[in-house]
Amino acid sequence: MSSSPAPEASPPVRSSFGDRAFLSLSQSAGVFVLSLAAAMVAVLTYQAWPALSRFRELQILSSTDWNPNEGVYGSLLFVYGTVATSVIAMLVAVPLGVGAAAYLSEVAPPRVRRTCSFLLELLAAIPSVIFGFWALEFLARRGLAPTFGFFGLNNTSGEGILAAGLVLAVMILPYITALSFDVCQAVPRSQREGSLALGATRWQTIWNVVLPFARPGIIAACFLALGRAAGETMAVTMVIGNAEYLRFGIAATGDSIPSLIAGRLHETSAADVDKRAVLIALGLLLLVITLVMNVGARALLRWASKPRARPGRAVSVIEDPNYQLAPAPPEQTVRARKRAARTDKAMMVVLWFCQLLTVVPLFLILGYITYKGAGHVSTTFFTNLPNDKPPGLYHALIGSVTLVGLAAAFAIPVGMLAAIFLSEYKNYRLVKPVRFVSEMLGGVPSIVIGVFAYAILVYPFWFAVGQKGWGYSAWAGGFALAIMMLPVVIRSAEESMRLVPNSLREASYALGASRRQTVLKVVIPAALPAIITGVLLAVGRVAGETAPLILTARGSQFLPRLLSDETPSLPYYVYDFATKPGEAQKNLAWAAAFVLLCVVLLLNVGTRLLAGKRVVAAARAD
């Protein structure tokens, strides 16, 4: 949102055939995004219909009794698990995140600010399956289990809703902090200066001026974070305890909707009509929840960023001309000042502490994964298969590259064209809906995308029972990842192109170039560094995705040979082997987690270092 809307420069001459073709190409990319979203909703609704039409009868939202044997699908406990974990995450992450943002924006020296934002970006880049593995082994088993034991609570594993909520808190912290930081920065300098000039302390300025001014933006950030938390699959499924009873209390275990779908959907065939429909209906519910969060957040942000005259607070006018404000006794003023100074000092420490707590998990995760994993990475890890001795994950590396490559090969061209449409054909009617839908697409939980890709490419939903499905494949996995990548590419490419000064376009037109020529020869080359950065960041993000792959590419013990083969991937194996008891397999999981973490972080850090700060700012598409 960094560029101001500039009046569109139009080409002087009537468009040629090539121009029109270019327009229709980019417009159809936009239409494709729209139809993709429409198809997703339609397919899910169609598949969930057997459950939706008998919503009451199946007791989906009116019972907590989940017993598919008896045809009872009470899902309230999964809804509760989703809500409870999200609420815990918000309770922890919002104060910490806002505090950290206030510290970074108002207190921190520039160097600390730079370092901390960098660390936060790293935290945001860690794949969710690694959060899950860490949370299972470290947070639950080493942290919560002994704590519960100490307080005599009946939970010996440490798993449960609290563990899931805490790991979610760590995962959404960087989003809340980064977004809140941005809105704090957007508070006009004059506001702060006014407050300080009136003698307010730094804390008073933050509390009474900066935060109230930034409030709508912060609330929007919370909505976005809540949407993310509700849709998170891997980290939650690994630590929530997978219980099938509604239990309350701090040590209670439970289950969430995404975790249920990830664990159960592939156990149903097209013939298990009810169970399948119920699971997909729950996916649809999840989709609706996250969409509401996202729409709400964007509406708030848009409303808050609009320049507007604020009606001042009602002032009571004192009619009496002789009225004088009685001066406070001096000792009272001094006391108030001292108190304010003390509060200021204390709060500065509190804010600093918030920031500290925000980056500590990063080091815990990096440290623990390195400690456990680095020692198990050997050359055979990169050359052997899981059934070889010693076992390796060569095939999963190749599989991951294939899946991400497929996703990129699909998402980059479509995303670029759609972004060109959004940025260069601003006054077309479709622009607004396409942008909106693409932003919404970015908020769709990954597991829902997995369900959709399964219904399109694994066992097509239009197939009659008995028809042979297309099976798990790299195509399906790549398609799912592409849908996840598409909105990120569109967003970052559009932002990058918008940053290209309009004068460049005008100069190009003045030389007689057509719009197509201008876009291809002037705008894209100028925006290219930022676009590449955005694409690489997007690649880093989908490289760690697990949830949709469970339902689409599955896994395999062998090297994938055809794109129609089941395709293994590194994050899939982190998940698969993390839940295995054997020493060898667990070590392989640690090694895989370490390698995955290295790849994702190197991609992230490398891109940022190479591209420079400004380009990254343009390309960031959170």
Binding site: A145, S157, F558, L559
Partner: protein, 351 residues
Amino acid sequence: MRRLLVLGSFAALVALVSGCGGKNAAPRISAGGATFVDPLIQKWSGDYKAAKNVEIDYVAKGSGYGISNLTSRNIDFGCSDAPMNAKELAKAKEAGGDVVHVPVAIGAVAVIFNLDGIKDLKLTGEVLADIYLRKITKWNDAKIAALNPGLGLPDKPITPTARSGSSGTSAIFTEYLSKRSPEFAKTPGTSKEPKFPEGVEKKPENNGVAEFVKATSGAVGYVELAFAKSNDIAYATMINKAGKPVKPDPASVTSAVDEAMKVKQDKEPYSLHPLAYSFTDAAGDGSYPIVGASYAMLFKKQPKDKGPVIVEFLKWAMSDGQKSAAELHYAPLPAELAKKAQELLGSVTFE
């Protein structure tokens, strides 16, 4: 330019990966299902690749996964420790015709526990049922203590652990408990996806249960013996139908199999299949009581290209493959059963 480079290298990689299939690549069979047989099938997969250059790509996600993905025909053959019931057979028939079930491995379900240093524990089916019914919730309960005099059981809560999702191991386990406890037979009863009372933890796959019990003091769970052995988790001695304490091992499993095969299988789902047996709670002094078989399931009508490869593999698994069984703590298939199974595989048609 850089973008082109990035795109180009991706395209090259994709081409490389999709191209390395080649003409003389090994045939690959996609399979999946029960985690019960997973250690054995992965061993077979490696051996068979070396011997016959055929890749058996088995992904273990549970018996329910095997049944549903066979029905969706996402995989070429599936494995389940609970033979398909009438409903599942009907669904599968609609999808691809008759399904052939052949036993490929027989193994014990070990009752694993984590009791800080205690290595041996005696349990009966009745006590185990009470634990899973949450009627016994402490390790020092009088009923457990009576079976284990002088063991010094701690005053610790029991965390019973079961499989989440649809599992053949659960079916074997609950079938045994249902036979021993009338109350258990009422609810939850025999099921692949039993509804245990509150307080029973659920973990995915044999691996998940083993991993959880290994990591959690006070936990008890049930997994195929190989998972207990290879992960060094203590498992209980069960008092069998004859009242004798028996440890799970190939000999006690074979004894149970021999006894069970004498019994006519007239109950569903076993009666629906020519070669399915209920091996639980078998008679005989040396029989371990919680025993089950894993069945390979495939459609009777098979495609010309993959069908013969699958049948060849299964025949190999029942003959040469059984040599690996004991080494992974499964019981070898009885010769008679293996012979019948091979004959049954002869009925598979290729078209």
